[in-house]
Structure formats: structure tokens, C-alpha cells
Subunit: 537 residues, 2 copies
């Protein structure tokens, strides 16, 4: 049901279409609908999967748009991102209502997520204006150098090319169509082709409409953005395999992320994949902290564990502590809190079923003790909180116990001593976060753990809970594999722009041809390194 491409204001009702550049297109493949996770009922409108031709068209448009789009100034892209933010803000009510229907997430949370999403877009607008992301470096010519003169060499970063983005289930806005991956890629100067998550097709379409409308208002080429609908193994894989795609941003399951990594590695021209996959986010409760405030820690822990039905990438699924009265107090208090916790609706019936299977498998392990379970929510996507415990020796011996249970389930690992806490930490896979709770007397123990934690995670927290990821300049939402496919980057915060850039050097380029960030006289007042010395010169 194509509508005219000339619309200025984004639709407030989903139409059941993809966007191939400026065109609304209804896929020719299988029908698919998002499902109300509470009722399990399919939602209107119906969508249809796209096919190879749709992928081809989206990628061709993106490729065609690339040189024009990357030639825009940072200021122009900043205004574009701000325009997108404005369009989304204007659509808040419609988007929140639809996202609530599709995800079961509370309206207040979703309203906050709109703010987070527009905040991200504005952060990248600010980053574009700040400009040091361009990595400008100038080594001036040394014509008198012997035995050979040195040429003039200048370096800046340029965008990689069209980027494929895969929306996540658990943040239908902030990690989806207009989320951090899209915002950072667009900021870098890369056109974006998004594959919508089946769980929130309507939300995706509305958000895409906002972006489309901004593309048009800013006079950018239509291929700067397309939205595809399809399943991961076929359409998603085809998108990643398309030779015009130059990088991939993904947040989702480990299996899906690994599949995309394989596809990307098997291309004739391999490309980087930034996949955020799975993390159990260990929390260490040091003895002094347990002695001092075990009940308060239990309350904080269960609050973080059950927030949003535990469906955060940074959900604290693993607690490490030394056995003793402090831990006993913590466990008793945490068990009480979990038992009193009424589960929320999970994002999809499939996620709820996986969560049930994962928790049953772990709880059923002979070495695992079930300490408490919460009240299960009703409906098609129920969640029931779980608190489980296991001894450290058994935990280390059984890799299956280290797997993420995506939901509100926490496993407490009882350790003999602090040395064993460190051993358990060393045995873990890579993590997004690692947290330590300390009292004054714990500082030496914390200092010893720090190098272990640094090697294992992207963000270390002291006396805080990992849910809640600030969107700023210093944030790292990343970490060693398998937390992400590439621990050298972050998917949240302004540093994310670097994922979609690469350096280029220019040797003896005539002044008339120099890219503006490298021009003599530094017309934009950028931070640059001149002969290695950083400064606004």
C-alpha cells in the first residue's frame, strides 16, 4: 500500500510497509505480524517479508547516496540528527502507544526511552560539532630534511560506507531503528539499512517514518536510510553479505550475532561486525560490604535483577561472594525480595519460553540450589524471578551455568575466599560489565581484583548496579567476546562513531583539494595533532 513519497509529517499509524529510500514498499514474502506479548494475539497491520530484490534496492540506494551523504559537513549532519530527534519527539505518543502494544513494556519506561533515543541523536550532533572524531593529524613537509625531504602528510577519518543495522528486541527505540547504531553510523557519514525486529514492526515503521521525513526535510539523498523487514537467516544474512554493505551493527542473541559474524567473515571482502550479544554481568560483594549492608545490597540487587523483567543486556545475572554470615543475610533478604516480586510481561512469547527453559535447566542442575522464585506474571509471555545458588567449584566446572538467562534470574556463586572469587572471575567469558560492592575495609581486595575485572569487561562499576547505561562521552557499552564481537569499541556513547570510520592519509595534496578538517589555518578550530602535538591548531 504505497503512499506518496511527498509526505512531510511522518505517519502516526503504521501502514504495514518497509521503506526503500523514499518509497513505502510492501514486501512480497510471508506475512508477519508483531504480537501483543500479554495476550499473545497478532497485531494489525500485517507486514510481509522483503526479498532479495528489496535488499538489493536498499543497498543500491545506500551506495548511490554514500558519496553525497559523506560530503555533507558535520554541521549539516548534526542538524539532520537533530531533525530526526525532533520528528521522533513529535511522534512520542503514537510511538509509545505502539511500542507498549508490541513489547509489553510500561508506558513510562517507553516514554523515557524516547527521551534516551533523542538524547543519543543529539549527543552525536554535539559530537559532530566538536569534531575531534575526525582524527585530524598533520605532519608538515620538511623540504630541507636529509637525506630526503619529508613530504606533507595529513590524516583524517572517513566513513566506511553503507551500514546494516539490526534492531534489538529489548529496546524497541533506543537500540532499534533510530537507536545508537543508526545514530552513530549516520553521524559518521554512513547511509544505514535497518532490518526491523519482528517483535516491534509497527514501532519500527513509525520510527522509520520519522527518519524518512527528516531525510526529506534536510534534502538528503533518499538512500541515506531504508527499512527492511525479513527474517535473520535469509534477509538478514543477505543484507550482511551484500557487497555494498561495509559494516554491521547488531544487538541481540549470541546465536544470531555469531551467524552474522560468520556471514561477514565469509564475504569476498570481509567487513567489521559490531555485535552485542550476551553477558551475565558479574557482581562481586566484598566481605566488608556484606558485613556493613547486606540487606541494602539485597534490595538493590533484586531491584536491578528484576527491572524490566530482567531484559537488559546489563542485567546482573551472577553474584560472587565469600561464604559467611554476611552472605547468608544477603541471600535471605534477596530471597524474600524475589519471592515478593510479581513478574512483568516479557517482550515476546518466544523470549518468555526461552527464559523458562534456561532457568529450568540451570535450576535443575544437581549442583544448583533454588533459593527463591517470584510470582509469575499471567498471560502469553510470563516472567517469574529466580534466585539460585551454586558453589564456586561446581560453577567453574560447568560451563552451562555461565550462560546468560535472558530475564530476571540470578545465580549466586558461593566462594571459599577472595582468591576463589578471582578464580571464578578469571574463568568467565567476556562481559559488558563487572560490578564490585565495597566498604572501606575492602579497598585492598578491590585493588587486587581490578586487573582481573578490566580484562574481563567493558565497564567496571563500584557500589552501583549495572542496569542503567549512561549515554555520554566516557561510557563503554562493549566488552570482550562474547559480550560483543569486537571489544575494541562501544555501542553506547559518543565513542561509537569511531566504529564506522577509517583513517586516510593525504600526501602532498594541493591546498585547493585538502579536506576542510585538514586545511591550513584550521578553519573550524578543530583539535588536531600537528607533528604529533595535540592542540587547536
Amino acid at each position: 500500500m504505497p503512499s506518496p513519497a511527498s509526505e512531510k509529517a511522518p505517519e502516526t499509524e503504521p501502514q504495514g510497509t518497509m521503506f526503500l529510500g523514499a518509497s513505502r514498499v510492501t514486501g512480497g514474502g510471508a506475512e508477519v505480524r508483531s504480537v501483543n506479548p500479554g495476550t499473545g494475539k497478532p497485531l494489525d497491520p500485517a507486514y510481509h517479508y522483503g526479498d532479495a530484490g528489496d535488499v538489493d534496492r536498499a543497498c543500491r540506494l545506500a551506495e548511490d547516496a554514500f558519496d553525497t551523504y559523506r560530503a555533507t559537513t558535520p554541521e549539516e549532519r548534526a542538524r539532520f540528527l537533530e531533525c530526526v530527534a525532533g520528528k521522533l519527539t513529535a511522534l512520542t505518543d503514537a510511538v509509545v502507544e505502539r511500542a507498549h502494544l508490541e513489547s509489553g513494556l510500561p508506558v513510562a519506561r517507553l516514554t523515557g526511552e524516547v527521551g534516551r533515543t533523542t538524547g543519543q541523536l543529539r549527543l552525536f550532533a554535539a559530537e559532530l560539532r566538536e569534531g575531534s572524531w575526525q582524527g585530524a593529524r598533520i605532519d608538515p613537509a620538511l623540504p630541507e630534511r636529509t637525506p630526503q625531504p619529508r613530504p606533507d602528510i595529513r590524516q583524517r577519518r572517513i566513513p566506511l560506507g553503507p551500514v546494516a543495522v539490526f534492531g534489538a528486541s529489548n529496546f524497541p527505540l533506543a537500540f532499534s531503528v533510530l537507536g545508537g547504531d543508526t545514530a552513530s553510523a549516520l553521524a559518521a557519514g554512513c547511509p544505514v539499512v535497518v532490518k526491523a525486529h519482528d517483535a516491534h514492526l509497527g514501532t519500527s515503521e513509525l520510527a522509520a517514518g520519522a527518519l524518512r521525513s527528516a531525510v526529506e526535510e534536510c534534502g538528503l539523498p533518499e538512500g541515506v536510510f531504508s527499512l527492511l523487514i525479513g527474517d535473520g537467516p535469509t534477509l538478514g544474512a543477505r543484507l550482511v553479505a551484500d557487497p555494498r554493505i561495509r559494516a554491521v551493527g547488531f544487538t541481540g542473541s549470541r546465536a544470531a550475532g555469531l551467524a552474522l559474524m560468520r556471514t561477514a567473515a565469509e564475504r569476498d571482502v570481509p567487513i567489521p561486525v559490531y555485535a552485542e550479544m550476551s553477558s551475565v554481568n558479574p557482581v562481586v560483594l566484598l566481605p566488608g560490604a556484606l558485613d556493613e549492608r547486606a540487606r541494602e545490597l539485597a534490595e538493590g540487587f533484586v531491584g536491578s535483577l528484576t527491572l524490566g523483567a530482567g531484559q537488559f543486556c546489563t542485567n546482573p545475572g551472577l553474584v560472587l561472594a565469600v561464604d559467611g554470615p554476611g552472605l547468608d543475610t544477603f541471600l535471605a533478604a534477596a530471597a524474600g525480595a524475589v519471592e515478593g516480586h510479581a513478574g512483568a510481561t516479557m517482550l515476546t512469547p518466544g523470549i518468555a519460553a526461552s527464559y523458562r527453559a534456561q532457568t529450568e535447566a540451570v535450576a535443575g542442575h544437581p549442583a544448583v540450589t533454588r533459593l527463591a522464585q517470584g510470582v509469575s506474571s499471567e498471560g502469553a509471555s510470563p516472567c517469574q524471578a529466580h534466585l539460585l545458588a551454586v558453589g564456586a567449584d561446581d560453577f567453574v566446572a560447568e560451563p552451562a551455568l555461565q550462560q546468560e538467562m535472558f530475564g530476571a534470574a540470578g545465580l549466586v556463586v558461593r566462594c571459599r575466599d577472595l582468591g576463589q572469587v578471582a578464580d571464578v572471575l578469571r574463568s568467565l567469558e567476556g562481559q559488558l560489565t563487572a560490578s564490585v560492592h565495597t566498604a572501606d575495609g575492602d579497598l585492598d581486595a578491590a585493588r587486587e581484583l581490578l586487573p582481573v575485572l578490566e580484562r574481563g569487561a567493558g565497564r567496571l562499576l563500584f557500589n552501583g548496579w549495572p542496569t542503567g547505561v549512561e549515554v555520554g562521552h566516557a561510557m563503554v557499552h562493549g566488552g570482550p567476546f562474547p559480550a560483543t564481537s569486537d571489544g575494541r569499541s562501544t555501542s553506547v556513547g559518543s565513542l561509537a562513531i569511531e566504529r564506522y570510520l577509517r583513517p586516510v592519509a593525504y600526501q602532498d595534496l594541493p591546498a585547493e583539494l585538502l579536506p576542510r578538517p585538514l586545511a591550513d589555518g584550521n578553519p573550524d578550530g578543530l583539535w588536531r595533532r600537528v607533528d604529533g602535538v595535540p592542540g587547536r591548531h
Copy 2:
């Protein structure tokens, strides 16, 4: 033949050993000797390939050394790199003599390469002291923020872990044991395990002895460096597959680089591979430049093409120009220069044989015209310069003609017009460099080509020849696949340190535990971003 670990001065004669940390070890595998490429005669001493146990020991030592080594201050690592440079300088005569025997490269060139190698080490020492590579960012706490206070978040980069480095055949010093990969990894704080190139085992051992001696003098853990000897498909692959190795630096053939990429991608924990592989380094001669100085261009081109028997990664193997009298003049002059060129000895008999096969295949292609061939050198590793030409339509239609001929062979692609020049450039694989020669009237044409060149190469040169890679801050020696496995980085210049780092965020870390680059008051006067604002604060 182990010698005592207490030696202070490095040996000036190769002993036929590997280094596993502080221990000289003779491998238990097949005998292997470097070969004098001129005579084809094997050289003393005999070496023996290492085995799985040697790889295991080198990696264990590296892992054991990692936390201690990365805890050294940048100043300590800077002094260590300077110490390495000093040890190598002191060994210059012995190293040059041995490298000359093993590589056939002229003594003057090798003496220069020692200087280049020590210059690289000193550049990274300076970079360590400058400090902005640490990527320090601070988002201060906002305790009054509503609805929720903002925690204090600080970010810095930390080293990835032990790095495997594969020495290149064509730079027995500057891209080998003490080359840029090793220097940048050591600067970053990563222990290094080098696999020596079979073509220059003695040179590798002498250089390793210099490094060993510096490790000892600086009181660093022995595992900071090991040298292994073995073949790529077995020992090399085992090294890359070792779970303690966290990144790979490689310069060499495309086949070998692709094999390492596959091994790295198939690990349980995939790791980054920085492989520099192949490049034909297109050179565009614009019409005005040809009109103005065709003979001068021909002289410059043949000089760059035949330098070091054409065995540079940045050898200008491809020339693009529009047909016409200017090109005819260029070709006649270039043919004359090639015919008069006496080939030098190539690096190994195997490289010479490959070069012969590659040039015969290209020259034998029905669409290719042989314009000139030089005088072949004598001996076991002869080189003969070749100048070949082909029409642009045939060139684009035949991918085999785009393959690198590693040696002094140039292929000139005759184009109908500038549009076809751009089409040919777009059809090329990723390149390390792309060069444009211009006269005043060519500036508009150059401006149009610039976006094409940027997308295709890591370094763009104007009115220069690509051989000769400056070691500085603005250099990019990298480029899109298959020039390298990862176009987001460089293997030459100070930016290379970033390949071996990843960001970590610290949230509400107690002041006593803050890493020094993130400490309040900025004790080292680093460039940091505070709330996104860069400055020395």
C-alpha cells in the same frame, strides 16, 4: 645450544635458536636454514622448527607477563623501547651483514632500515610520553541531576593482551622481529610472540637477542617477548589459535594472511587480525601532467617500480592514463628505462620463481602487450623488470590482471577518457596507496577522482611515488581489503598503537583506585575529554 640467561650484551653471531622468554631453545622439529638468495646456498647455522610445546610455552610466558607488563608506566615502556633501539643500533654491523647475506638487499639499504627500525621504536616512545593514545575521557558525576543522578564515569584504553607478530620477507628489520607491529604492540602494553620469517632466521635471531637483552636490562618479565621458528600452516596457525593470544600483526602474502584470518575467526574467542597483504598501488597520470612532463614521469615511475627489485608493498604496479601523445611519450621513455634496468637479486628463490610465473601469466594474456623488459639479474633469485600494457575494457573484464605481481613489473592501463579512468579505479580491490600526477590544468579532474581514490586506498599521493613510507603521526599504511584485513588501522606510524588497545569505562571508582590517566587533577598533564570537551584538563 642454550646459553646462560644472564648475558647482558646481545650475541653478534646467530646461534641457531629461538627465544622462549629468557631461554634460548633449539627447536625439536625439521631443520631449516635461511638461504643466500644470490647463490641459492643454505646458510649456517641450522635452525629447527619449534613444536606445539614451544608455542604453548611462549604463550604461557606472555600471558604470565601481561599484567605486570601492562602495569608499567608509559614512561617505563618508552625507556624500554629506547633501550631496544639502542641495543639494535649497537648491533648494526652484525645485523646488516647477516641481513645482507639472507636477503640479498644492499648494505646501504639495510643500514637505512636499521635506522628506520630504531626510528619507529623511538616514535612509539615519544607517543607513549605524549599520552593522548590512552583515550582518557571523564564525564563527572551530576549528583543533582533529575530524575536520577549521573554517576562519575571515566574511560581509558587498555592493552588487549599477548600479540602474535609475523615477520615479513621484504623488510628483514623494519617489518620483522623489531618492526612496527612489535613496536606498537609493546608500546600498547602487550607482550609479543614473533614467528620469524624463514628467509632471514639469523637476522631475526640477532634482533631478538637485542630485544631480549633490553627486556633483561629493563627488569621486565621474560614473557614480554619470545621468538618462535616454524612454518606458517602449522606453527603459525597454532600460535594464532592459542587462546592466550589476543591479536595478530602480519605482513605478507594474501594467501597466508587469509589463512590467519580464517584461523582467528574460527577460534572460540575470535581475535582481530591486522594483516597487510597485497596492493598494486594504482598511479593515475592526468593529461596535463603527461603533456607537461611525460619523460620525467617515466623516469620517476621506473625508479619507483624497480626500487629494491620491486619488492615493496607500495610498489606502483599499475598505471592508468588516457590514450594520447602524452601517454605515448611516457610509454616510450618508460620502456627505454626498463630496458636499461639491470635487475637486482630478489629476496628468495621462491619469490623470484613466483614473480616469474606471475609476470609470464600476465604478459601471456592475449589482451596484454609487452612493452619492454629489463636485463635479468644472475643467480638463484633473478629479477627482470617488465613493462606491460592493456586496454581498460580488457583490464576490467579480467580480474587476473589485477593481481599483484610482487616484483618490478608494471602494467599500464590505457583508458579512453577520464571517465574510464574513474571506472577502472572503482573496479579495483582495496589498495594501500593511490597516486595522482597532475599539472595545473588537472585540478578539476583530480577533484573528481578524489572520492573514488579515498574509498579505495589508505594513502593518496599527489605528484609523488608510493614507495617510501614516512614513519610519523599522520601516516596511514593500511587500506581497504585486501590491501589489509582491516582498513580501520595502519601498520606504520603512531596511530598503529590503537590496534592493540580497547576502551574500558570505570563508574564511580574510588579515587584511590583510579588509573593514573584518569586521576583527578590530571597529574600527567594529558589531553583528556572532560564532559566531551578536549583539553589538558
